[in-house]
């Protein structure tokens, strides 16, 4: 509160930029005032969310009464200051600076007359290891260097090109680094230090050999890097890239959604191409306080959700024969047939904390109507009952299990079920459990990037989950599978039109969701599956972390 009052005491001062009178509060730099007033000043190293160092020199401006030119990102605004941000002379100086920067950055393509057609037809070139031009660069569509070349109308680079010839750094999980593209703006170092407090990287070596690196040039995975990839997000060049997301080119669409891999529920933007998840990154214009991404949500989603192990088509086992693929109508009919053969006391539901609120709610409804509320979860390999009236005592009478997290079911757990006859699996991936002779149906469901809904997170906020990609095969959302089974069994409770109808029900019965255990942020599993099994780089990350530090945190 004190702070607010203090701020109010300061009167807004006035200054002039390009002949326009603008107001500012003390402490603001010329660049900040200009940006706020809608006046563009080109920069490569400065960012609104980072402390300025004035290393690229492109933001130079003319201040009346001051000799030479000053960098607007480091010069505080003063009352009655008169600033000119652009003039033929300043543009010439900026072009000269940019030319010098580009003389150490593979830039032939930037001034090449056939660049556009080349990039259009040579798209697969981005799969090369060593980037020697824009058509090979994974970052070309969001490259700030290129934007500046276009803004300043640079047509020629007068200086000979110096290739630094650093070895490619591709031995770390998730991350490819090619410091031959680096312009030493230091954004990556600053974001790591200022916003994450990690300082995993710094400038190393001196003079022409200066580069960004870790202490003793050890691998990032052995150092303090947590692979949040914020360095990649702020890099103005293509020096840093997320491995799984660098070969697809430009996304067809970007969809903001919520990552539900753990209880934190970070806001995430999903890059979609070919109707598949190709990348995930924070909102581009991120602000301090939103930085909480971990390697799971930032790097694992494409490999996790495009896995070859995804279930694509419903499968049933008719009359104790072999499992066969079928269409949804027949699968639902088969499943409801089986469920109707058992008494509610003989049925139990294994739900999953990784489901959206709607899917969880419908599973609880199913359990209430058809399974005497016999519903349980796995939390850190422990069985948890949302209802205090239930315990593992119920297991001895159970004959039919409806599971949404098949891989969590160990032999030990199954041993507790004295008279288990049948299992209905509703899952994302095929698991060893699928081959059990007791399995009578396998129903493929979508992951959270392939469906709409909401998820209640640790801060007790319900956050939106938005569909960004198409599911593999004919998989449908979990809530839809459950409602279709419920409807086929005849209960009027399952006559829902879409997920919004379920949301209305959730609002009327909020305790249902409140009773569900949440996924811990350090969890290494997704819906009962070890993420390491599905994402090889994650396995490397976890194993090295355990070896070096003895623990893994996100």
């Amino acid at each position: 509160m004190e702070e607010l009052v203090e701020k109010k005491d300061y009167a807004m001062e006035e200054m002039t930029i390009n002949g326009k009178v603008v107001s500012f509060s003390p402490g603001e730099t010329i660049l900040e005032v200009a940006r706020r007033s809608g006046i563009y000043i080109p920069t490569l190293c400065a960012r609104a969310d980072l402390a300025s160092t004035g290393s690229c020199r492109l933001c130079i401006v003319k201040v009346e009464g001051v000799r030479g030119y000053v960098t607007s990102c480091t010069t505080p605004a003063t009352p009655h200051m008169v600033v000119t941000t652009t003039s033929p002379e300043i543009e010439t100086l900026r072009r000269g600076i940019l030319e010098l920067i580009l003389s150490e950055h593979p830039s032939a393509c930037l001034v090449c007359p056939i660049r556009e057609t080349c990039e259009q037809f040579n798209a697969p070139s981005s799969k090369v290891g060593r980037v020697t031009g824009c058509n090979m660069c994974p970052n070309r569509n969001i490259c700030e260097l290129r934007q500046l070349v276009e803004y300043l109308g640079l047509k020629e680079i007068r200086y000979p090109f110096l290739y630094k010839d650093f070895p490619l750094e591709r031995d770390d999980p998730f991350m490819d680094r090619d410091y031959n593209l680096c312009i030493l703006c230091g954004r990556c170092i600053r974001i790591c230090e200022e916003n994450l407090g990690l300082s995993a990287i710094s400038f190393i070596r001196r003079g022409h050999d200066t580069k960004v690196g870790t202490s003793f040039e050890e691998l990032h995975v052995d150092g303090s890097c947590v692979f949040c990839m914020h360095c990649v997000d702020v890099c103005p060049t293509g020096a840093l890239s997320v491995r799984g997301s660098k070969w697809y080119g430009y996304p067809d669409s970007e969809t903001p959604t919520t990552c539900i891999l753990c209880e934190r529920g970070c806001e995430l933007v999903i890059d979609t191409k070919w109707n598949k998840v190709m990348g995930a990154h924070p909102v581009r214009d991120m602000s301090i306080g939103k930085r909480e991404y971990c390697v799971k949500g930032r790097c694992c989603l494409p490999a996790l959700f495009n896995s070859a192990d995804r279930l694509k088509y419903p499968a049933i086992r008719p009359d104790s024969g072999t499992i066969i693929h079928t269409e949804w109508d027949r699968a639902i009919e088969h499943v409801s047939d089986i469920v109707s053969h058992y008494d509610p006391r003989e049925i139990a539901v294994l739900s999953s904390s990784h489901l959206t609120d709607e899917s969880i709610y419908v599973l609880h409804e199913f359990a209430r109507v058809y399974a005497e509320s016999n519903i349980f979860y796995f939390k850190d390999a422990e069985i948890v009952f949302p209802s205090i009236e239930k315990s593992d005592d119920i297991f001895k009478d159970i004959k039919l299990l409806y599971v949404a997290e098949a891989n969590s079911l160990t032999d030990e757990t199954l041993g507790q079920f004295g008279s288990l006859e049948a299992i209905i699996i509703q899952d994302n991936y095929s698991s060893p459990m699928s081959s059990s002779p007791k399995v009578c149906a396998i129903l493929p469901s979508t992951v959270f990037t392939e469906m709409n809904g909401t998820k209640t997170c640790a801060d007790n906020r319900r956050k939106p989950v938005t569909k960004a990609a198409e599911p593999p095969g004919i998989a449908i959302p979990d809530w839809e599978i459950t409602t279709r089974i419920g409807k086929a069994l005849g209960s009027p409770d399952f006559r829902v039109k879409d997920f919004r109808t379920i949301q209305n029900h959730i609002q009327m019965h909020p305790w249902t969701i409140a009773s569900v255990p949440m996924v811990q942020k350090d969890s290494l599993t997704y819906r009962g599956f070890s993420i390491s099994e599905l994402v090889p780089d994650f396995k490397v990350f976890v194993e090295r972390r355990l070896e070096v530090k003895g623990e893994v945190h996100f």
Binding site: S125, Y248, S307, A308
Partner: protein, 282 residues
């Protein structure tokens, strides 16, 4: 078998000298081999740049462009390739043309060398034109100089020779009245197309070595099919060299990017230098 005898990297292009005596004995200019790095690798068609029937060594210049070639690039001297099949494709037609212009870019700088050598031996005047982004990206030059009457350079940044591409050099030569009786080009599809367009107005017979997606290399699968003057041809058994003025470039470009999705997805689950499944399903 197929031991790697020598290896170097020049900006993504990996020079690989492989021991393959049977192939080295019967290779002819313009032919290619199909290589598998390990038993799970893709089959990669590669133009042979040089060979020595006595030592049994063949020289390949491999452009790193995807996981299979990435893995080739990570191999070391002493490692063995799983398989090398060849020679494949129809050899270049070598005879006395008069003046022969050869254009090479990227892996084509090494690729045009045996054709230049054979043309020189057949008594032609050989002009080799090579392109790269920067002067430091040229390779195999000493050998090329030895078999060419003239070696011309084109660089994107103008650091050596003419600023521009091979087609700019060719156009300039033709405008200056240099008589070219036959042209050979090898490089990326873009470069081949532009060079063919440059020689078309002068009606210079132009051969281009096409690099369509190839699977078996023996004419069985049809993956490498290209349209030449409206006729479907297989690059593996009818080529790889075709009349540059008759190629349907649009179709070729489209066919070459047919698996962009699968290629991108494979890299999502790829883990450098560790034992992981090589192919994800799409």
């Amino acid at each position: 078998m197929y031991e790697l005898m020598e290896k170097a990297e020049i900006f993504n292009v990996h020079k690989m000298v492989v021991s393959a005596p049977d192939i080295a004995r019967s290779l002819k200019p313009g032919q290619f081999v199909i290589v598998m790095g390990d038993e799970y690798s893709e089959r990669i068609p590669l133009t042979v740049s040089d060979w020595d029937a006595d030592t049994g060594a063949i020289t390949l210049y491999v452009l790193e462009l995807g996981i299979s070639t990435l893995e080739l690039g990570r191999m070391n001297v002493g490692d063995s390739l799983y398989a090398v099949t060849g020679p494949l494709g129809i050899p270049s037609e070598i005879k006395h043309y008069g003046t022969v212009a050869l254009g090479g870019g990227c892996y084509g700088i090494g690729g045009i060398y045996p054709i230049a050598r054979a043309c020189k031996q057949a008594g032609n005047t050989v002009i080799s034109i090579i392109e790269a982004r920067y002067s430091s990206m040229f390779y195999h030059e000493k050998e090329l100089h030895a078999v060419s009457d003239q070696v011309l350079h084109a660089t994107s940044d103008g650091s050596r020779g003419k600023r521009g591409k091979v087609e700019d050099v060719i156009t300039e030569m033709l405008e200056n009245g240099v008589k070219i009786d036959q042209a050979f080009f090898m490089g990326c599809t873009q470069m081949l197309e532009r060079c063919s367009e440059a020689t078309r107005p002068y009606a210079i017979p132009t051969k281009v070595a096409l690099n369509s997606i190839m699977l078996d290399g023996t004419g069985m699968c049809g993956a490498c099919r290209v349209s030449i003057g409206g006729e479907t041809k297989f690059a593996c058994v009818d080529g790889p060299e075709f009349d540059g003025h008759k190629v349907d470039w649009k179709e070729l470009n489209q066919r070459k990017s047919a698996y962009a999705e699968q290629e991108a997805i494979v890299y999502q689950a790829y883990c450098q230098g560790s034992e992981v499944p090589k192919f994800g399903s799409a």
